[in-house]
């Protein structure tokens, strides 16, 4: 048996599919031109329909590459087809989610209307793709054909589609689909595994920052006065701190040795439990029995998670001992802390501004007349009515956090250098950029597409929520 050949981008199927795609693109451009002419006043019949038909054909041509990759034997449809086959679980899950959401969009509220707009569909599709890829690759171990850390000699800086030496049968694992990096690791597997790290850290770190911003912004806007002045001054201080300097000061090995990030993390990680406790207590204050029944288990669970996250083996906060669920490395804790630090003041300003506006509303006056506590008014009257801008901001913020994580990785801070997260991979790949660009370009494009998806999603959400 002969060892597998190097793969080309579209393989044997490309002989048919490439001209078809070129034709579809040409047709689409032509149809767009026709529509433009029609808009300018020329009499061109059926331009709208032509655009729709040509768009459908173009989509079909692109889809054909994926179908060919799945249906034809391994390698016949080239690198594109092989990647499509590796990502098959993702396509299936994505198709199910999108079809059901689209079918029931009229019953799904804001989410349904967002699915209804084309920009929302594109943005949601991109975000969903990366979320599902992260799940499939990280949690289920499905997508990546190679271990992100394993090294195959001879594949250092290998071009995309290079065959793995010693593997006889063509199939998953017989090629480095997107080539090898400077240490001869599979670029495709690393990018896919990196999405799992990003998908775990970015939303959680954002949520921490948002929770802190909400917890401080509500009282600042609601009470005003000295509380507001002091908190606003603090927020402006943090805002005036250059982000990169903060990273370099908080996420270096020397600082980690002092335990300062762990102490800060102990403070910031306490914000969500406090917020939940305030939420429940301000609502159920009049029925202490029920309050205890709800709060007890929830707080116990959150407290356990909190101590697991903050306590490290042998550290000062290691109160759980053997019950500790997981150990976050101190580098990762520092990443959480610094990202939450960067996000919190902006959220604080947003929440404060919204609260200043909402506290003059009639329902707030009604709640005050009923004798509700100030936390009840803030958390149960003002916060739900501020949700629109907060959701939009949250979407943008997750994208921004992804960029920040990439920045940290780019400077080699926080996560270990062999970590497959996108920032670290770009950092490792940039040294040979002008000779072997693929190890850095692939994660760069991945990061770009995720952030773009989040931004488009935020745009669509903003537009749809403004229609109310």
């Amino acid at each position: 048996m002969t060892p597998p050949e190097p793969l080309t981008w579209t393989g044997a199927a490309g002989a048919v599919l490439d001209p078809a795609l070129a034709l579809a693109v040409a047709g689409f451009v032509l149809a767009l031109g026709l529509r433009g002419a029609a808009r300018l006043g020329l009499r061109v019949g059926g331009a709208e329909r032509a655009v729709r038909v040509a768009g459908g054909l173009l989509a079909a041509a692109i889809l054909a590459y994926g179908v060919a990759g799945v249906v034809l034997p391994w390698g016949m449809a080239g690198i594109v087809g092989a990647m499509a086959r590796q990502l098959l679980p993702v396509w299936v899950a994505m198709g199910v989610v999108l079809i059901f959401s689209y079918a029931w969009r009229s019953k799904l509220g804001l989410y349904g209307r967002m699915i209804g707009s084309p920009i929302g569909r594109i943005g949601f599709g991109l975000v969903l793709f990366w979320a599902l890829t992260a799940l499939a690759a990280g949690a289920l171990g499905l997508v990546a054909p190679h271990d992100p850390l394993s090294v195959v000699s001879g594949l250092r800086n290998a071009p995309p589609g290079a065959p793995v030496p010693g593997v006889a049968a063509p199939g998953p694992g017989s090629h480095y689909l997107l080539g090898g990096d400077a240490l001869a690791r599979d670029v495709f597997s690393r990018v896919v595994q990196g999405s799992w790290i990003v998908a775990q850290v970015a939303p959680l770190a954002t949520a921490l920052g948002v929770a802190a911003g909400v917890l401080l912004g509500l009282p600042a806007g609601y009470h005003g006065g000295r509380v507001d002045a002091a908190l606003s001054f603090l927020a402006n201080l943090v805002l005036a701190f250059p982000v990169i300097l903060l990273f370099y000061l908080l996420v270096t090995p020397e600082i980690l040795a002092t335990g300062l990030p762990t102490a800060l993390a102990a403070g910031i990680f306490a914000v969500p439990p406090v917020l939940v406790a305030l939420l429940a207590w301000s609502r159920l204050r009049t029925e202490p029995g029920r309050a205890l029944a709800v709060l007890g288990p929830v707080l116990a669970g959150m407290g356990w998670l909190y101590l697991s996250a903050v306590g490290e083996a042998g550290g000062r906060l290691d109160l759980l001992g053997r019950l500790d669920l997981f150990d976050l490395p101190p580098g990762l804790l520092a990443v959480f802390v610094s990202v939450a630090f960067v996000n919190a003041p902006t959220v604080f300003r947003l929440v404060r501004g919204l609260t200043l506006d909402l506290r003059t509303r009639d329902y707030v006056a009604a709640a005050q007349t009923r004798g509700e506590s100030s936390w009840h008014v803030m958390l149960w009257e003002i916060l739900p009515n501020a949700r629109g801008p907060l959701i939009v901001d949250g979407c943008l913020r997750i994208g921004y956090t992804t960029i920040l994580l990439g920045t940290l990785g780019f400077f080699g801070l926080g996560l270990p250098p062999e970590s497959p997260d996108w920032g670290s991979t770009i950092n490792a790949g940039r040294r040979l950029l002008s000779v072997h660009p693929h190890p850095a370009v692939v994660p760069a494009v991945a990061l770009l597409s995720l952030v773009l998806g989040l931004n488009l999603l935020a745009d669509a959400l903003r537009e749809e929520s403004l229609k109310d």
């Binding site: 250059p242 020397e254 931004n455």
Partner: protein, 374 residues
């Protein structure tokens, strides 16, 4: 106006002091000092020798006192070294011999690290800190921090000037064109470009630009992947990619803000009045809409400058351009405390000043905001 300005200046000073203190505290945490001691006096010295070295070099006193000395409001420390020679913060320049040649310094201690001549102990000033213009000594570059920072700032100023020249006009043009007729094809296409650039951080666009325009992979070798030579002699080949990389990211954001402002202005009654008066669309846009639409982008551009600082650090690292951002990375990576403090002071002051300028500029440009009672 004057009272507002004075109050803002007061807040700014307070913020600057607080922030520099935080930086001072973080850079002077015990592990950082220990690393300095080991790199200056030999890596294999014992704990006690580290403590002794720190004590002899003035690091043993309380943090607040040292911060005061660094700032220049407290007199610098004075002490004796192992041989009985006087040494101190303000003598630092002159005691070159006593600095490294302590009894504990091993054979690996580096060459002399101080300018040749300094003030005699008797003539030395009592205070020497930031306020006196003494920013300290950079151990990495073996030069005065002031000079290192000034050199870096000079290079970065050149970069930033070109970035602003590229970014501001194109962002404003993009935004005005898109916002002029909201919802048109042009608007959607330009908004798409703006969203795309705003979603592309500098390290992504830089990598992609280099891969496309400066690598052997595509064969297009139009530009250089390194901007080191641009420090002396900036040409299209070596300066285009760094400038473009920073400008692209900021451009998307500014363009979106401009578009929103322009779209809002175009729905205002006075625009309709101008149209009804019979003015052409071009005249309405240029004469009536533009000025009012540019108020918001002005503040955005000013607030964008601190963000550009991020981009500057990334791009200067990526393209190996030895400016201010590159200096920051070198200082932080090598634990060069004095240099890092100097860099922090400059960047904090820049950020605070741009914040104030944006507030004041907004107040000046926007007639609806009343000044005076603040």
């Amino acid at each position: 106006m004057l009272r507002l300005l004075l109050r803002r200046l007061g807040v700014l000073l307070g913020a600057a002091v607080a922030l520099t203190f935080v930086v001072f505290w973080l850079t002077n945490l015990p592990p950082n000092l220990e690393r300095i001691a080991r790199s200056e006096a030999g890596t294999r010295i014992s704990e006690a020798e580290v403590a002794g070295w720190l004590e002899r070099n003035g690091y043993g006193r309380p943090l607040l006192v040292r911060y005061g000395e660094w700032l220049g409001v407290l007199p610098g420390w004075v002490g004796m070294d192992g041989d009985g020679n006087p040494r101190g913060r303000c003598l630092r320049a002159g005691d070159g011999a006593g600095r490294d040649a302590g009894p504990e310094s091993g054979p690996e201690s580096g060459p002399e690290s101080g300018p040749e001549s300094g003030p005699e102990p008797a003539e030395a000033p009592a205070r020497c800190g930031l306020l006196q213009g003494d920013w300290g000594w950079s151990r990495v570059f073996q030069a005065e921090v002031r000079d290192v920072v000034a050199r870096g700032l000079g290079h970065t100023a050149k970069l930033m000037a070109w970035v602003l020249v590229v970014m501001v006009p194109s962002a404003l043009l993009l935004g005005v064109l898109a916002g002029m007729r909201e919802g048109s094809g042009l608007d959607r296409a330009l908004s798409g470009v703006a969203v795309l650039t705003a979603a592309t951080p500098e390290y992504v666009s830089g990598v992609v630009l280099v891969a496309v325009f400066a690598s052997s992979a595509t064969g297009l070798r139009w530009f250089n992947g390194s901007a080191t030579s641009a420090m002396e002699d900036a040409t299209l080949a070596n300066f285009t990619l760094p400038v473009l990389t920073i400008a692209l990211y900021g451009m998307g954001y500014v363009a979106r803000m401009t578009r929103a402002a322009m779209a809002e202005v175009m729905t205002a009654p006075y625009i309709r009045a101008a149209r009804l008066k019979g003015l052409s669309f071009r005249q309405v846009v240029l004469r009536h809409a533009l000025r009012n639409a540019l108020i918001a982008p002005f503040t955005v551009v000013m607030l964008q400058i601190p963000w550009l600082l991020n981009g500057v650090v990334i791009v200067e690292t990526l393209f190996n351009y030895k400016g201010f951002g590159w200096t920051l990375v070198e200082a932080a990576g090598n634990n060069d405390i004095d240099l890092l403090l100097g860099v922090s002071v400059v960047s904090v002051v820049v950020v605070l000043l741009t914040q104030m300028a944006s507030d004041l500029g907004y107040a000046l440009l926007n007639p609806r905001i009343r000044l005076g009672r603040g």
